[in-house]
């Protein structure tokens, strides 16, 4: 792999990652992933893998409770800051170590411990009702969270009226919504994975910005169409590691370069390489980043997400 990182900007924010900790991900989520993996491995090796062993392998990647490993990897990659995303799976799935309230507190602590390195986007399943809305408001006003993270495959539409109180808080506080798009653990409802579902909410809340997570990789045409047509819709490139980097040409040639945001989705691709390797892969010679203007590179790596969060 030949790298040319002469275009590397001065400041980099990884705008899509998670705390690699079992405290924030229910075992049921990983069990679904394991079942899918087991089938793929069986097809490749003609041997049925031990499901418990496979689950252990995945869970072993989720023991960085205080983010020390993440911070080390960010340092090695010269990634200055990161946005920690906390979706709420606790309503849809059983087996969470913590309640969503405790998860908020845990992320607040991480933010307090590393105020110059992290931002937090967090969400609450709308079916928790008013308590959930209050918790989100507390997260923003008291804990300093900078965005709402929503996960519609948990079983709700992003345009469901029950989401609107959350968007009203985002509107008042001038912070963005980041929404999961596309495939996920098979324990979820994939009919809620489509980006088109956000369109009504994006129309009703024209002054709230929506980021379609994985939009450069999943439902790419729909995501590009939404980002091209709606002023308040953006996309991130997280999970780009699944495909050759040249695939990103699809999104970087559509006149929406000011709306594309860098993110790695740590720790999902941990087995494929360090954060440094994941970042370096974007500087390969066939990467579309080499065709961008300096300001576009800068916007991609930090400018756009800073603009959306309202930070200097």
């Amino acid at each position: 792999m030949t790298i040319d990182d002469s275009i590397r900007p001065g400041h980099i924010i990884d705008a899509h990652l998670h705390v690699a900790s079992t405290r924030y991900l229910p075992t049921a989520f990983m069990q679904g992933v394991v079942e899918n993996s087991a089938r793929a491995i069986e097809a490749r090796t003609a041997t049925k893998p031990n499901l418990k062993q496979l689950l252990d392998l995945y869970l072993k990647q989720l023991q960085d409770h205080d983010c020390s490993q993440l911070l080390q990897q960010m340092d090695d990659a010269n990634i200055d800051q990161a946005v920690l995303l906390l979706p709420d799976y606790t309503y849809a799935l059983t087996g969470s170590e913590l309640s969503i309230e405790e998860m908020f507190k845990g992320h607040h602590q991480l933010l307090q411990n590393n105020p110059d390195r992290f931002y937090v986007f967090a969400g609450v399943d709308p079916r928790w009702g008013k308590e959930g809305i209050d918790l989100f408001e507390k997260g923003v006003k008291e804990y300093g969270f900078k965005g709402l993270k929503i996960y519609p495959p948990c079983g709700y539409s992003p345009s469901d009226p029950s989401m609107y109180p959350f968007y009203e808080i985002c509107q008042q506080q001038k912070i963005p919504v980041l929404m999961h798009v596309g495939g996920t653990s098979p324990v979820f409802e994939l009919d809620m994975a489509s980006p088109i579902l956000v369109d009504k909410a994006a129309r009703d809340f024209g002054d709230v910005n929506f980021i379609l997570a994985h939009g450069a990789v999943a439902y790419t045409h729909e995501c590009v169409m939404l980002a091209s047509s709606r002023a308040n819709i953006y996309i991130d490139i997280s999970t780009y590691q699944k495909l050759p980097v040249a695939h990103l040409n699809h999104v970087f040639s559509k006149g929406i370069n000011h709306k594309i945001i860098f993110g790695t989705d740590w720790p999902i691709f941990r087995m494929k390489g360090q954060q440094k390797n994941q970042l370096d892969s974007l500087f390969q010679l066939d990467s579309p980043l080499h065709t961008l203007e300096d300001w576009e590179v800068s916007a991609f790596f930090s400018g756009t997400i800073k603009y959306l969060m309202g930070v200097a």
Binding site: M1, S37, A40, I41, R44, T45, T47, P49, Q53, L54, D56, L57, K60, Q61, K242, F269, R270, M271, K272, G273, Q274, N277, S281
Partner: protein
Amino acid sequence: MSISPELEKELVELIWRVVPKAYKKTTPSPELSLSQDLGIDSMALVSFTFSIEETYGCNLIDQLGEKIFEIFTVGDVLDIVGELISRIK
């Protein structure tokens, strides 16, 4: 600790079993990245882990601990996995 040429050959063969067709003709070399130079995806890496366990009767996940997340190149496989197998063989 260096490993025997036989074990090195066996490990390289096991790696090449999960290398996609388009990369099969790549000449093995320690500095090659498993994912970026050899096109091995996450699922193939997990398959590789299990094939090592099956072939040598070890439990890489338990026995390597956090070190399993330091395996990114052919050389890492030879050094880290090779050393473990040499010890238990």
